[in-house]
């Protein structure tokens, strides 16, 4: 990695959210979107924030990404305060955000190109990522020629091309059909295994949260706050059979009960 020893000595990809508040104020009204969020996400952890729509989970993610500011408190990534977006925090959005004028390969190489990484090195990096997302033969296609699932795979590869400390995912599979969604989840776990980055994942899908995560944080609305935390005590190797595991089912029941209220 280009940024030498300082980083390796310290943690890589630890997010510390401390006493975070987000209040929207207009002349007439005041809306508290996030209330006193305390959360630490460890190095190389896969953590999912689960909650109903309107609980502020996306806002929280966008604050960590630096795309939105907060009213009070702080967000630190590896001890450095977040004050704006940056290449150290890759993000995958719910909507399709590939650059339509770039080919699949050019999309993946967008970040490295900005960093000034030489062509050959960029090429081998994008080859590696294209292989990982199993889209080698689509390197010259434009996004409009891809299916929804393919687009999101490229979006993941594009975010990873920067070798980010943290991967932020805002309901990335929300728009996909059920079958594609399952495939994408398995692929994402593969990728996470290989890339060793911290993943902060947002969803309102209980099954998705349990299948993917090591830890689940449940948020509630009005104002957006953390209700409860769960460790997912499932084998590290997540195969489709894991969905029938008793722990999976009991956790699912508990989460469903919590979200109902």
């Amino acid at each position: 990695m280009q940024t030498g020893s300082k980083e390796e000595a310290a943690t890589r990809g630890e997010i510390v959210i401390h006493n975070l508040h987000k209040v929207y104020t207009t002349k007439k009204s005041r809306f508290e979107a996030l209330h006193n969020i305390q959360l630490t996400i460890g190095e190389n952890e896969f953590l999912t924030i689960l909650g109903p729509s309107g609980c502020g989970k996306s806002t929280l993610l966008r604050i960590v990404a630096g795309l939105e500011d907060h009213t009070e408190g702080s967000v630190m990534v590896d001890g450095e305060e977040v004050i704006g977006p940056g290449a150290d925090r890759g993000m995958v959005f719910q909507g399709y955000t590939l650059f339509p004028w770039l080919t699949v390969r050019e999309n993946i190489e967008y970040g490295p190109k900005l960093k000034g990484i030489p062509t050959l090195e960029r090429r081998s990096l994008s080859n590696y990522l294209l292989k990982m997302i199993r889209l080698e033969s689509f390197d010259k296609s434009y996004p409009k020629q891809l299916s929804g699932g393919m687009k999101q795979r490229v979006a993941i590869a594009r975010a990873l091309a920067n070798r980010p400390k943290v991967l932020l995912m805002d309901e990335p599979f929300g728009a996909l059909d059920a079958q594609t969604k399952l495939e994408m989840q398995e692929m994402l776990l593969d990728v996470w295994e290989k890339e060793k980055t911290t993943v902060l994942f947002i969803t309102h899908d209980i099954d998705e949260a349990i299948f993917l995560s090591q830890r689940i944080v449940v948020m509630g609305a009005g104002p957006g706050r953390i209700l409860k935390e769960f460790n997912v005590e499932l084998p590290a190797e997540r195969t489709p059979e894991v969905r029938e595991h008793p722990e999976f089912l009991s956790l699912k029941r508990e989460l469903a009960g919590l979200l109902k209220h």
Partner: protein, 266 residues
């Protein structure tokens, strides 16, 4: 026994695509109707031939005029004026428009006065232009510029504002600075829509050309039309109008072609 009639949905469906053959046929019919109406009115002399020449007289005049070097000079100078005024408006207007669409401060600085000026008819500037720029080439180019520039800035600003914020945010999370985001996201993203806008504005440029050439000139297609009117050569007026229409059509097709070639991703 009568076989049951197969039920078919009605032909005219809202927004539904039709085959290119049907499309061409409908277009052909509309031209044909236009021509039929014209023929009816002129050949029966329902309208005095001095006011409405017959189609064959116009066609004859068309080829007669295009056979003369003088007419090609008129065409040449008109094309020059239109392209100069249009290019100048693009050169200045597009960057200003992008700037106004990108930053709210720039929007506040640029748009209110432009909104105000664009409602002033460009034609009303002619006397002023003649005072400022005389009656030379610059005067015509300036009029076309004024006619196009203000609209162009506002339209480009609007296109720029409508670029997906998610695309912009994606580039930020991939490490783009503000200027890099303008260069690598905003500018490529607006291009297809920009080409459509330029097509539209080029059409206006031709309109302003004719206006510009109606006053104090002795060259150009507008002048040719004016002169024909003076001698009541209505067939020549028709030729002038048709030639301008054809030139507009050609430039429009060039834009459409470029749009397809340059932006295969859109």
């Amino acid at each position: 026994m009568i076989p049951p009639k197969r039920r078919t949905p009605p032909k005219l469906q809202i927004f539904k695509d039709i085959s290119s053959v049907s499309y061409a046929m409908m277009a052909g019919i509309s031209f044909f109707l236009l021509l039929a109406l014209w023929s009816l009115l002129s050949y029966t002399e329902a309208v005095n031939p001095v006011f409405l020449p017959t189609p064959d007289a116009v066609l004859l005049e068309f080829f007669r005029q295009l056979g003369t070097a003088a007419y090609w000079e008129h065409i040449g100078i008109s094309v020059f004026r239109v392209s100069s005024g249009f290019a100048l408006a693009c050169l200045v207007g597009i960057p200003i428009g992008i700037f106004a669409g990108t930053f709210r401060h720039a929007e506040a600085l640029i748009e209110p006065p432009m909104e105000f000026i664009r409602y002033m008819p460009a034609v009303a500037f002619i006397p002023l232009i003649m005072v400022w720029a005389g009656i030379g080439e610059w005067a015509k180019i300036l009029l076309i510029f004024i006619g196009c520039f203000f609209q162009l800035v506002l339209m480009v600003a609007d296109i720029t504002r409508r670029v997906s914020h998610d695309l912009l945010h994606a580039s930020f999370t991939l490490g783009a600075s503000r200027w890099k985001a303008i260069e690598t996201v905003l500018i490529p993203a607006i291009q297809p829509q920009l080409m459509h806008t330029l097509r539209l504005i080029l059409g206006w440029a031709w309109t302003y050309l004719v206006v510009a050439e109606l006053v104090a000139v002795n060259s150009g297609l507008g002048y040719a039309i004016m002169r024909a009117q003076r001698y009541l050569n209505t067939d020549q007026i028709f030729v002038g109008i048709i030639v301008i229409g054809l030139l507009g059509l050609i430039s429009d097709r060039i834009f459409a072609f470029l749009n397809k070639r340059l932006f295969p991703w859109a």
